[in-house]
């Protein structure tokens, strides 16, 4: 990024952005139950949709950032904070921190577009397509199980797995980042609905358990 003035201007504009679930931030804080289940939004993560044959040369070039592209359903490949999620046999979602976006001085998705070059495939900036809700705590699985038909038992759904599925009746990607932490990617227009749905599902854990 040679044009520092443009970058400064772009950073200034970023401060005016509002994330899809920002109107629920106070509710997330009030609805979180420390030691049981907590919910927050991780706004503005950089995301890029990649469609490429993972076995080809272009696939290998695009996989460099994440240690290769994932090969099967559920697989996530990552290096540091940058991860590639499997969405389909030739479709992947690259997730990186907000600062990695080229409008903030990073190099995604520009570097990916360059890596693809003239080869068959596609790289699309999807940063504004989805938002990220982070659900964590020992009861996070119990909350998700109210509206997700996947087998979420840790024996089956291990940390470092991401699946595209339905949560609370809406399509979303569910990524288990740690043993008790889940990242949920709903589309921006579903963020408020899913946020409220999760808050409702979390409510019982705020009360003392009835034996």
């Amino acid at each position: 990024m040679a044009d520092t003035a443009a970058l400064e201007n772009s950073k200034k504009i970023q401060t005016l952005r509002t994330s899809p679930a920002s109107l629920l931030w106070a509710a997330f804080e009030a609805g979180s139950v420390a030691g049981a289940v907590e919910l927050r939004e991780v706004p503005f993560l950089t995301m890029a949709g990649i469609r490429v044959d993972p076995g080809g040369d272009a696939g290998k070039r695009l996989g460099k950032r994440t240690g290769g592209l994932p090969a099967a359903s559920g697989e996530v490949r990552s290096i540091g904070d940058t991860a590639a999620l499997w969405l389909g046999p030739a479709e992947f979602l690259l997730v990186a921190p907000a600062e990695s976006h080229d409008s903030l001085g990073g190099e995604i998705p520009r570097a990916l577009t360059d890596a693809l070059g003239d080869a068959e495939g596609q790289v699309v900036d999807l940063s504004a397509n989805r938002t990220t809700l982070e659900l964590s705590g020992p009861r996070a699985r119990a909350v998700l199980e109210k509206g997700c038909a996947l087998d979420l038992h840790p024996r089956v759904f291990t940390a470092g797995t991401a699946l595209s599925t339905e949560i609370g009746g809406i399509p979303a990607i569910l990524w288990k980042t740690a043993e008790e932490t889940y990242r949920i990617f709903p589309r921006a227009s579903f963020a408020e609905f899913l946020g409220r749905w999760l808050l409702d599902a979390m409510r019982e854990f705020a009360s003392t358990e009835v034996p």
């Binding site: 359903s73 389909g88 046999p89 479709e91 599925t165 339905e166 399509p171």
Partner: protein, 109 residues
């Protein structure tokens, strides 16, 4: 709720899938030569099989890939899942015969 075995993602709920109708309906080789009746039959006429039925499905909230499935329309038993473009596999099993024909409302005919 059907539990459909997606060839890419494994068994998932039916609500994650999109139904694509009867499989193996070839596009006419020379559509211009068809009479109106033949064209209408290609567009709108489909089998209404009682028993094993080959149909197309798409895993719309998962891997977004299309596949073919052989499903029994009486028992809902999924007999085979096979890729698009492949010929319909032979089925050893046929739909069990219903001894007393009963209408959907439950009245015996």
């Amino acid at each position: 709720m059907l539990l459909i075995p997606c060839p890419n993602c494994g068994p998932r709920d039916e609500t994650e899938f999109h139904y694509g109708g009867q499989a193996h309906v070839p596009y006419p080789e020379n559509p211009a030569d068809l009479t109106d009746r033949e064209w209408a039959e290609y567009l709108f006429y489909r089998d209404n099989t009682k028993g094993a039925f080959a149909e197309r499905w798409q895993h719309s909230t998962g891997c977004r890939q299309w596949f073919n499935m052989l499903r029994d329309t009486v028992t809902y038993d999924i007999q085979a899942v096979y890729p698009m473009g492949q010929l319909r596999p032979a089925t050893g099993t046929t739909a069990p015969t219903v001894t007393s024909p009963v209408s959907p409302e439950g009245a015996v005919k």
